[in-house]
Symmetry: D2
Subunit: 351 residues, 4 copies
């Protein structure tokens, strides 16, 4: 088969590789119909994630059909159309039992659980992929849900909802600010209404993305490059500060911005992936009664989000801005890597 | 009357001052029977809290009898024996309605709500004190609750319980670590069982305090000065890390310690009062699915804690290690300021 | 002034009565701009609520302007445009402190707290009304909220949301069934989305009301008169039963219907006002892991709902189907009492 | 092997039967060390549970060692000492994913999930038992936990805690009443403190059981046969009613008692197994803002309760009042069936 293979920092190719095979009784082989590219893949390509070694097939999102099932798999069968979740988990360890799939402890002797696709094992930017612990990682898709909708549930929507909206404790009537209107930030914006947010303020440096954010449910937008951005946010909250500030960028400045606009009693939900420490101003914040959360998506809300997509209550498909075929994979990367210019949110690559 | 008056950095005296008077219809005057000293008072005396100006009567904890009531006070009367809460709040603003008394917005035009005693208005280290918004700040005491028990509910116990145990989300079966076994840390230790903690690990540099912590409910103790302290904590949790790490000191090192021993999915509850920023290692923590909280006590659990003291379910009285009369106030400060040496937890000063 | 006065079973008149006066320092007098009629008023007129005696002014919903304030009222002033909440509460007793305004214990010696308007004291179907504990019962209205929107927040919307949606524990992705598509049922339908319901099934005997329910957010409708209604509900839930069944009628049959369509682990939220006991089939239900709730509205979500109306996130105004002037009050009652025929939901009576 | 075999209504024998064998790859065979008898077994013997047919081995509680494991079992091995949970569940269906093991949907085509031991399949009152879905139903036991302690976690303690205390929403400071001080009621009494109950009132007709209840944590006791029992309960709550009323008997009268002593805003948690409908007085209760719950134990708190037993925080062993050998099984039944006379709580039958 062909796959997108990492060749060390700065190098990648869409090239011929051996087909995946069943390695464990709980494995399944999926033939991909649609996959996509994540910002994390760009980080890997820069060489920022040393655990990813040369020869690795990238990608952790996808939709496809099952072509083979391991001997102990009973709830899935060849031919099923499935969503591939970005997180692998055994479903039975103490962490999985409490829904903390991101920190699956696996069975004795197992390793590489949690986010492993395109990281510690071969990923989904390929014609086929081996899915470990398949019964806890694949979700059968109803016909009424398109590939474009479904692939947004591999990572983007569960991440924005679980780590942004749920960890942030959004509740009816809240004012929610989302700093960073990229795909995950937009997913947070689109799902904040699931807990009844009254106002959803998108904050970004890019006015194009702010405009886009309105389509996903932002009620107000603030351009963060302007010197009075903070004043504008407070004006939208009668001077009180926001109930929930969701950080969806991953740099120190945006983290600090979130702590500066949250009201006493409010929440800061960090969704961004950070590369360095941030100074936490506890000398001011200790008395503010605030809650700060952060984490990797568990994907335990995936079935619920799938129901909402089926009910047409989530604008998942709007996230797909560009479409390519598998043999245009290099073009897809080019378009996605120049997102500011191409206005790409998520690029779909399909069979 | 006599009172403990701040005279600028390093200066204090037990001296004659005018009696307090009713200033607003919601005020009450309380004649103190017992008061105590808080670590915050020592900070003020060092000059660390510039808002406190020379001439201010210190103290925010106390028990006494009502001698006068304002014209709109209906639920309290002269002669009532009451607990004075450290937090003043109007009870009717939006923040008060949600139980966030620490961030009371007050009535229009009001100021200085929240922690004001011995800070922005005269405090409780005096023979008498004026209590604003009295109906929302005083609690009638049953005869069966002693002064020594009650005064621990002015600040220490609600702080340890609300900001440590409740904000930390302690639940049945949890392993809870409390870093810092001073009065507030011990209050957290004593109340962690209210949500069914299975193990409560006290961590401190002082082996005397660790020994004391067992009387308050610590099931395990770890001396933090030893190089393998962290290894010992992990050994007590089968290598997983603690469910809840409560920081009850207020310096960067102990905050960082808390983030290093918490398990994925766990909580860090900061109770300490901090004077400078701490580095938050989000480059490691972002993927750990942790929750960090901090705040000033709301005292909205005071009536509940009072019921538990009445039921003899909280060891409040054990906190009182030394007792003085009002005319020994300077000695009380001396004993409390040399706590490591005198083994003082809370010193009581009574009529 | 003129008012709608109850004259004993079957008798009412729009007639001249004395103006209300301030009786307590916490009272306020409101001059009504708009009021409405509730199903409860019809019950009272039948003589079903013996506590209501001849001479009582009916009504517990309304919007108006303040004309007088009691001496201890500080946060409201003459001229303020306000929403009148159907529940009176002191705001400071233990029940009020926990948000249980419906069971306000009042001050010592006080009585008649909770639902009192048009019941134990004179109500809002009048040109003016005395509002006790005004600071905890009146909400200042922004100009952007119309009378028609605001008056739906006196009772209908908080009741549907608090007792239906919140007590029912609706959560994102849930299938919610609402039995009875009258005003309160429609309010539950309209607010179920605040906690992210995926499907909202309206169930009623009246196909006109079912059609109307779609405007308020029902995704599916089931005519309960048909013999296979239950089969249809299960078909909408893949045979599992609904997550939350909200009873909004108040008779034994509809209560039993709710317990028959709820899935294991689900909730039955009773909103209806009942006049007789219902048989609870615990011989079947004990093993079903279900939760049943019931209660009088607390109105503690009124400020939040008001924010949502202001954000145009709730279709409050759609509830107003007919409009009258004060001097047409008897016509308004006539229209409302023949709701099946007139298709009335809420009738507005305005100055 | 020998086993306790049901022979139709009124008939049972400790008799020779074939050894169990592995039937599915997820099965495990356990050699029992200790088992016990449940009130449900007595109901079955009376013929009250028609699903149990002649020839069935009874019992759903037990502790033992693993002697054989199915081919897909990886986390358990021959020789492991294990606790057998009374509920069988697949661990991967939607209900199991939300912790609702009692309503496990099983794999496609599977049946008899939930409570099946000694009901739909052979049970634990035997020298050996086949355990389906073993990895989700067996818990490895630490050496420090005795058989007598462990077997109380098969059913009694999880039932009292989950269906009584957790479903009842017990919180710190609550007054909890438990109606019925049998084994499950005592388990609720013993675990109410895990959520900080301030007062725990045991209510029973048997003064001996009331006395016993104090050993498990009851702070007050009320003899329900006396005409003023209700007055006594209200006196213990300052006239307010209890926060949580736990019904642990299973007849209409005790259910009604629970609804009569609960305060507005409180919870009724039904733990009893009922055989007939009860009249629910919604004509009075609709306005009381109460919550009623009921259900079959999920056993998802078993690992947590095991940790608490290990920490010596639960008096599990006190439940064992009588001990027998396997060849005295008929005597054990005799003693247990005359509990009022023999003062039996739980009888242990061991190898």
């Amino acid at each position: 088969m062909k796959a997108l293979v990492y060749g060390g920092p700065g190098k990648k190719s869409w090239t011929e590789v051996p087909d995946p095979v069943i390695e464990s009784p709980t494995d399944v082989i999926v033939r991909l119909d649609t996959t996509t590219i994540c910002g994390t893949d760009l980080h890997i390509l820069k060489g920022d994630v040393p655990a990813v070694t040369s020869g690795r097939i990238l990608g952790h999102e996808g939709v496809g059909h099952i072509t083979k099932v391991g001997s102990s798999v009973t709830s899935l069968k060849v031919g099923d159309r499935v969503l591939i979740s970005c997180i692998k988990s055994c479903g039975s360890c103490p962490n999985c039992k409490m829904g903390l799939y991101s920190h699956c402890l696996g069975s004795e002797g197992a390793s590489g659980i949690g986010w492993v696709f395109g990281h510690l094992i071969n990923g989904t930017q390929a014609e086929m992929v081996r899915v470990p612990y398949a019964e806890n990682s694949l979700y059968k898709l109803p016909d009424s849900v398109s590939d474009a909708e479904a692939v947004m549930l591999s990572d983007i929507f569960p991440t924005g909802f679980e780590i942004g909206v749920q960890y942030g404790g959004v509740k009816p009537g809240d004012v929610v600010a989302v700093i960073g209107a990229g795909p995950v930030g937009l997913a947070a914006i689109a799902t904040a209404g699931l807990y009844g947010a009254a106002k959803i303020i998108a904050i970004d440096l890019d006015s194009n993305r702010l405009e886009k954010s309105r389509e996903f449910g932002a009620t107000d937008v603030v351009l963060s490059g302007e010197s009075d951005w903070k004043k504008k946010v407070f004006a939208l909250t009668d001077g009180a500060g926001v109930d929930v500030a969701i950080e969806a960028v991953g740099v120190p400045d945006t983290f600090t911005m979130a702590t500066e606009i949250v009201r006493p009693g409010g929440h800061v939900a960090n969704v961004g992936v950070h590369g360095k420490e941030v100074p936490l101003h506890v000398e001011n914040l200790w008395i503010q009664n605030i809650f700060i959360s952060m984490g990797l998506v568990n994907t335990n809300t995936t079935p619920m989000l799938l129901k909402l997509v089926e009910s047409k209550k989530l604008p998942a498909e709007k996230m797909a801005t560009h479409r390519f075929n598998f043999d245009q994979f290099m073009d897809a990367y080019d378009t996605f890597s120049r997102a500011a210019e191409t206005k790409a949110l998520k690029v779909l690559i399909s069979r």
